[in-house]
Symmetry: C2
Subunit: 730 residues, 2 copies
Amino acid sequence: MLNPWFWLAPAGSVLALVVAWIFYRNMMAQDEGTPRMAAIALAVRKGAMAYLRQQYRVVTVIFICLTVLFAFMAYVLKVQNGWVPFAFITGGFFSGLAGFFGMKTATYASARTANAARQSLDRGLKLAFRSGAVMGLVVVGLALLDISGWFLILNRFYPPSDHPNSLVIITTTMLTFGMGASTQALFARVGGGIFTKAADVGADLVGKVEAGIPEDDPRNPATIADNVGDNVGDVAGMGADLYESYCGAILATAALGATAFQAAGGAAQMNSVLAPMIIAGMGTILSVIGMLLVSTKEGATQKQLLGSLARGVNFSSALITVVSAVVLNLLGLPNAWGIWGALVTGLAVGIVIGKSTEYYTSHGYRPTVSIAEQAKTGPAPVIISGLGTGLISTAIPVVMVSIGTILSFLFASGFSFGNLPMGLYGIGIAAVGMLSTLGITLATDAYGPIADNAGGNAQMAGLEKEVRERTDTLDALGNTTAATGKGFAIGSAALTALALLASYLEEVRIGMERAGITIVEIGGRSVATASATLQELMTHFDVHLMNPLVLVGAFIGSMMAFLFCGLTMQAVGRAAGRMVEEVRRQFSEKPGIIEGRDEPDYARCVAISTRGAQREMILPAALAILVPVVTGIVLGVGGVMGLLLGGVASGFVLAIFLANSGGAWDNAKKYVEEGNLGGKGSEAHKATVIGDTVGDPFKDTSGPSLNILIKLMSMVSIVMAGLTVTFHLL
Amino acid sequence: MLNPWFWLAPAGSVLALVVAWIFYRNMMAQDEGTPRMAAIALAVRKGAMAYLRQQYRVVTVIFICLTVLFAFMAYVLKVQNGWVPFAFITGGFFSGLAGFFGMKTATYASARTANAARQSLDRGLKLAFRSGAVMGLVVVGLALLDISGWFLILNRFYPPSDHPNSLVIITTTMLTFGMGASTQALFARVGGGIFTKAADVGADLVGKVEAGIPEDDPRNPATIADNVGDNVGDVAGMGADLYESYCGAILATAALGATAFQAAGGAAQMNSVLAPMIIAGMGTILSVIGMLLVSTKEGATQKQLLGSLARGVNFSSALITVVSAVVLNLLGLPNAWGIWGALVTGLAVGIVIGKSTEYYTSHGYRPTVSIAEQAKTGPAPVIISGLGTGLISTAIPVVMVSIGTILSFLFASGFSFGNLPMGLYGIGIAAVGMLSTLGITLATDAYGPIADNAGGNAQMAGLEKEVRERTDTLDALGNTTAATGKGFAIGSAALTALALLASYLEEVRIGMERAGITIVEIGGRSVATASATLQELMTHFDVHLMNPLVLVGAFIGSMMAFLFCGLTMQAVGRAAGRMVEEVRRQFSEKPGIIEGRDEPDYARCVAISTRGAQREMILPAALAILVPVVTGIVLGVGGVMGLLLGGVASGFVLAIFLANSGGAWDNAKKYVEEGNLGGKGSEAHKATVIGDTVGDPFKDTSGPSLNILIKLMSMVSIVMAGLTVTFHLL
């Protein structure tokens, strides 16, 4: 029996989608400004849409191949159930849709934001924020729609409700649409990340460094591509990324709930499965209310602007802790307060990680200023100290996630390390808590690239200095809010990956049952596969730290994170190189461009970035999918679990390092540009520009892709668990 | 009863020390060249010795503190045995001694090598190589002396030979002198690494980049400090590092042998403990023979030079495989051929990793050339592509170590994953195999900085162009051999760390027995602690991948590698900054320096690097020692094992990345300096110099320190195991 509270999830979904639609309509009703402004926005929009079409074309082919493979596994090999191929596709489809809507909105909003900024700062902020909110709302709305829709369908039609494991099977089946979302997100992040940084790095290298023209100068042929990149990478890529995180956290937690409360059964089990969906639904409703609180007044300082954004986020976060306490208790979950403790732990950890990210990457604090100061001795010290800062900045988030893991485990398990299923459920709930207000945190995130593009539009359209200053203020704000958003994304990825580790083991159990292995030998005793505890399964598969297969798996998992980073970084380098050549060619063939007489060929630069991104994303993406499969087939269950642990332990830390180094370099440059250490054009400025260029692929390509890598590897392993159980070499 | 083959170990030790003495005497009998050459060499030598004295002073204080702590643990808390404090001290003392002798020889050899190169290339090569050989031989000689000496003492006096676990207790006690060696090595590597790179980076930043004077120009005040740095970092630091690796591998394997053959007992157990020492002894004897084969003829190409070094190494490696097959069979070990298979696997893995390092870092191959080519677009692409190359270069070593781990495990265990003790012993033997010919591989390593210093001496003394070209040839060769050496060091570190993981668990068992816990509950059954299998102990302590304490431990271990790198990198940055200020001050206060009229104040630069290194090494070193202790006390056995796994999985990969990126940047710069892409002084050259400067702390400070970090964390955990068993929070 569905608890009526369940309907909070679809209700949140519908509310989010409706409000998104209203925000979108209101934004579209605004004026785009001068014809020049509209023309620039159109060029960016066309480029971005052309990219997205191309990207989706490639991804469609890959989805078709994988769907055929899953259908083969389900209907011929019988190592998976028949819903998997369909669930996989919807996950990918909705994720793509969220990215599409978010990006469409963002590309329509840039000129309108610039135009609104001509009137007042407050109007600019509101328009940019509400356009960003469309993305946030579409992501959570579609995710909740997909999740609650599938839950209703599976709960109604599959499997027969008298099956003892009904909810366990439903929830693990739903995990496979998480794999669809992860696959889509990987391509969106890697492809979009390569596009945006190839364009950005290429534009900077020739424009700022060689030709000495400012950022977003219309004479730079790569400048439209650069603005397109903000949309395909920072908007569409990020949307798909967080769609994946959100679904992953909710689905993994639901699956853990089904297992944890399997013995209790009945309402307790059902409600524990529903709890993450209900929390997400409530969080979405509170996010919408929070959004309406965001506004500012003319002449507001950056601090006041930040305060107004923070007001919305804080409101939603504070209220979710109160409301969830009530709802979890009304749901009648056993140990409701413990589960609530786990949720609050997750939220708190997310906030502290966000603060730590801000500390290490904002030029309001010592670390970034000290990177900028190194610029006096040249670019090499800037690089070394940026790397050093990023490496050191991993400590606080890791310690926080560690504390969060243990606390949420203990709260939910009633302070017993032996109660694994409940404790792991608590870890999942912590991740859901961290992401519960994603609607509004993502809005503040997506706001950034819109403000950035508005600035680009204002610059290219030659608007007044005052307007440009306003868009700069809006843009600077975006960097800080993005830092907080990244903190949540990285933190929740780590917790979700831990939860998925448990889901993997459950999927192995189901795979064994499907393969007819109903009895397992554990330390000489025979135990029914269905009722073996997680500890017993670990013993059965020898998943301990002396098993060489586990150790080797961990090595390979750790290496995968590094290799994947290296491949994406090289990809940016190569694609940027092609961009540099193209810009140089245009400058030398048409000297009129640099003198401002001739129009550069913007479209060619967009096409080069598009081609580069599409070509370069294949290898890293293929590795992310194939390595877990091969590891499973060669090393078996222990090897896969080692792989996943090594991947998350290494990938999580590497992701923080890359994101923070990149962010710190970016802001060190901004610090100099604000007039410190000689200001724009000084040697110190040049040194920090080099730092920022190195940081570009760090923070916008390799770093964010890692979040997805670690979860995609888990998702692939989960879907392939049946195969691994049936066939493996060692 | 000791098997007479045991005496191969002390025999190898004595032979190594005697030959080292002969090489040293022969080197000292050579002429130092012109008075200017002797004066420069004297300045470097004085600086290096002053540094080492200061370093040993700090380390002595730390050793006294730790010894008091261990004595307290042994005699008051009774959680360790009474030999531990003494064993700890000798490990540190001999390691320091090896560094001291090696460096003393190197500083005497530089001017003599330059002088020999005035006569012929062959004489230069031989002198430099044989001086490097002193270091190689002293390291293996003192290590074997320490090991075989302690083994004889403990076997004679402790514990009573009728104790059932006599060899187990002897070998685990001996591991604690490995901790002495690791502690010494950490300070030597971190302190030396900071010194050398602060001086190098500082000298380059002001000298090459700002003042436009070449490397090793006597007008640069930091140039003597730079040459001192080569000695304290690359010679003394590397000596202590490999002393630690060598001891660690032999001691861990002996300890695993004692456990693996505990049931068999008698000669089988004794011989399995002796096997790693005997293999090391034989390897040392073969290394000495190999060394005598190294020579070349005048006008030899770099390829021929490399061939002549390779001849010696290949001879020793080939022969050790043959001789060990015979000896292992004569020792009468059960499954002697399997153990031999593990040994050969280790050697083969080391060779492949070395080749892969060469491929990724030598400018004879594509990756490094392509980094150099990026210099056409500026420094940022050089940095991005160097990072990318380094990240990608982790794949082959990790895959090779993974294959090596599984193969050596399977060979030694008779192809049974269930036979953990034998399999783990095989992994240890693979590490010993990899390091068996350390005498000669370390000689080719230590040769590098000697040739480098000879070049510096020739340059500063204003010798003829022809001589300078010869020393350049010798120096270039050193870069390639160093790559191979690093491959062995990194590969063996990973395997040894895995072996130490097993030793930790054995130490936990001993700690339990000491604490009176003679029965453990495993899955409801009671098992005697002494006879519980490793699998059962893992189950008892819940050391599986679903235990949140293990997962959190792995996160923290992974983070430690990154944090440690960040701290050492920042330390180099800060110390280099102080050096830059000093050099600038000297240039501006005494304009005569740059015109060549005034003598710069070299000693002040040396003093600045010394102070910087001593101050900056404390925090990272303290963390490396404290974090495992705190983890043990808070998270218990599972947390510590997670920490060690996370640390090795992440640290190993990070170390390869840093070493290879750094090496590739160095050689990309050399490629340009050889006249490619515009040659010296071009924009491309400047870009690669920036890359090289960034790479300096990568390859010579943070990267190599990681090898020690991962083993020191294991050693600390092993020594503290008794404490963890008795007191832990969670």
